[in-house]
């Protein structure tokens, strides 16, 4: 976040398809040399947002400012904003090298000679680790290599801003993890701003200097990953993070919450339309069943667990049939063994909870 003025600034961008609003007044500022990940579930409008920024779609209302200019009505080829597609969208009729030189040679403005284009393209291909594959056709390379060609093709143009539309979505899990690191290091080396759209909360939290959470065409929260992670501002942000057990209930008085686990005192509630109590998976403590345990206590049956390498997630079924998850980090020692079908009591420190809603009193 070195530059003072934002590279990209959106003001109340609205885009409708028929009567369905895909973007419902999005405002957002992205600084230079920044990695912003845009997290949203399917249907949140995140791809539409990228397409509006790139100029593939014209917003029904609102403005898009890029690099200090209003580009709202400008066609995509005059904007100089890079775009990396989920399906890579390589030019099938060209070789790897031709894919990368294409934009340099054929650009409307600032086209360079073929020799110069080739020099730059080869340097860029080396940077993304594709040296030696220049002559291959785009169907003779793997998915990860296609991803790098798509990236090289975009970066070689030296854009200030690159939009990435679920760029890792088409890769397998191994490759995805590796490409994450590479994306970060390439971006840092070039000092270009990345706006990365993803549906995966892990990816969003891991990659962004800042994370913006989008839902139903609105930005719900934008901030540093740990802020978003520890302090989701709305119930839906907590939901999309996929790290919180959320319980519906009531707020009988300020600083109190009545839920399936009893009535407990809580930190101050964040204003929201629904009363919701959230506690992160890794804050949960599993104890042998104890009907007399004081609130908060949840009596649940162990169903299954899943090893994720660095942690174990266990699934318990509450008395209301809802699934509650707990997460045990391996760094905390070997995971406890639970018996399937056995009842346990789940407890936590009520100070760690996040509460949404308004007190019933007003």
């Amino acid at each position: 976040m070195s530059d003072a003025s934002p590279v990209l600034r959106l003001e109340g961008v609205v885009k409708r398809y028929g009567d369905v609003p895909a973007l419902d007044g999005v405002s957002l500022a992205v600084q230079g040399n920044e990695y912003v990940s845009l997290l949203g579930p399917s249907g949140s409008g995140k791809t539409t947002l990228l397409r509006v920024i790139a100029g593939f779609e014209v917003p029904d209302a609102g403005r898009v400012h890029f690099n200090g200019h209003d580009v709202t009505g400008q066609p995509p080829h005059e904007r100089g904003i890079g775009f990396v597609f989920q399906n890579f969208a390589l030019f099938p009729n060209m070789s790897v090298l031709q894919n990368v030189t294409y934009g340099l040679i054929n650009a409307d403005k600032g086209a360079v000679s073929p020799a110069e284009a080739e020099r730059r393209a080869l340097a860029m291909l080396e940077m993304v680790g594709l040296s030696g594959l220049e002559g291959r056709s785009t169907d003779q390379i793997s998915g990860g290599q296609k991803q790098r060609v798509a990236l090289a093709r975009t970066l070689v143009k030296g854009p200030k801003l690159v939009l990435l539309d679920e760029p890792l979505g088409a890769l397998d899990a191994n490759l995805r993890a590796r490409m994450r690191n590479e994306l970060r290091s390439i971006r840092q080396e070039l000092g270009v701003t990345f706006l990365h759209v993803t549906g995966s909360e892990t990816e969003a939290l891991a990659m962004g200097d800042r994370v913006a959470v989008l839902d139903r065409g609105r930005v719900l929260q934008i901030g540093a990953p740990d802020t978003v992670y520890h302090a989701p501002e709305t119930p839906n942000v907590a939901r999309f993070l996929n790290r919180y057990n959320l319980f519906a209930g009531t707020i009988p008085a300020q600083g109190q919450f009545a839920g399936p686990f009893g009535t407990v005192s809580t930190p101050p509630a964040r204003p929201a339309d629904e009363a919701l109590y959230g506690i992160r998976f890794d804050r949960m403590i599993v104890e042998p069943e104890n009907p007399a345990a004081p609130a908060p206590a949840l009596h649940a049956t162990f169903r299954a667990s899943e090893y994720l390498g660095s942690s174990v997630v266990s699934f318990f079924e509450g008395e209301d049939g809802r699934i509650v998850e707990t997460e045990h980090h391996m760094s905390m020692g070997a995971p406890p063994e639970f018996l399937t079908g056995q009842r346990y009591t789940l407890r936590w420190d009520p100070d760690h909870a996040i509460v949404f809603g308004q007190s019933a009193a007003g």
Partner: protein
Amino acid sequence: MESRILKPILGVYLALFILFLYGPFIVLGILSFQAGPDGGPQFPIIEWSTYWYRHLFGMTEVTRVAPLHLREALFRSLTLAFMTMVTATVLGVISAQAFRRRFRGSGVVFYLIVLGMMVPGVLTGLGISLLSSELGISRSWWGTAFVAHVVYTFPFAFLVMLAIFNRFDPSVEEASWSLGVSPIRTFRKVTLPIVFPGVLSSMLFAFTLSYDEFPRTLFASGSDLTLPRTIYATFAVEIHPNIFAFGVLTTLFSFALLTVFGILLYLSTRRAKKIARQEDI
């Protein structure tokens, strides 16, 4: 199992069916080698000879069998087919490109275009000749007949391109724009090369349909004959094996065209096949 009986029966039937399709051709081919100039257009073959082929090219002595004036007709037919091919393919490509985005009135426009291949040639031909005489435009193969040919072949090119664009991934175009390349240059450098097999098919349709087109030409081409009109002129009089020899040659020409098309199509889709092979491995 009944299909065990049915399958061979239908197989034999298909063989007979193909014989039915090709039989007349074969007979025509055999009779084109009839002796000349006295051999008639029927069996038996008096003597095998290439007389009628030589007759076609004016390499025989003058006899009572009038030579067919093929040279000018061939020139006109090829030129007309070429003009038609270019115009119909261009119209087909840009119209199909327009149909990639729905626009008001697209339904009506679709039927307007397809109507061109549905209306019988005799009606298009009659209408165009009526209109041209009303407007005082004289009929010619390169004018009135040409526009009639395009009316007929443009729908074929349009439908082929429509099918091709249906399977076209528009994100490669967007990728090109985002690299700073203008839409027009993008179309030339990215879109067109990718849909080229379709363009090739459109060209083949337009060329061969125009080259063989007859009813529209009969009404709309004025006094100059094209190849099909030269053939038609022989219908009314006694036929001689020279017309058979010509039939063999023009059929060979069609096959040569198909072969060239096949090779070009193979070359332009070999890349696509490579993809499939690569992904198998």
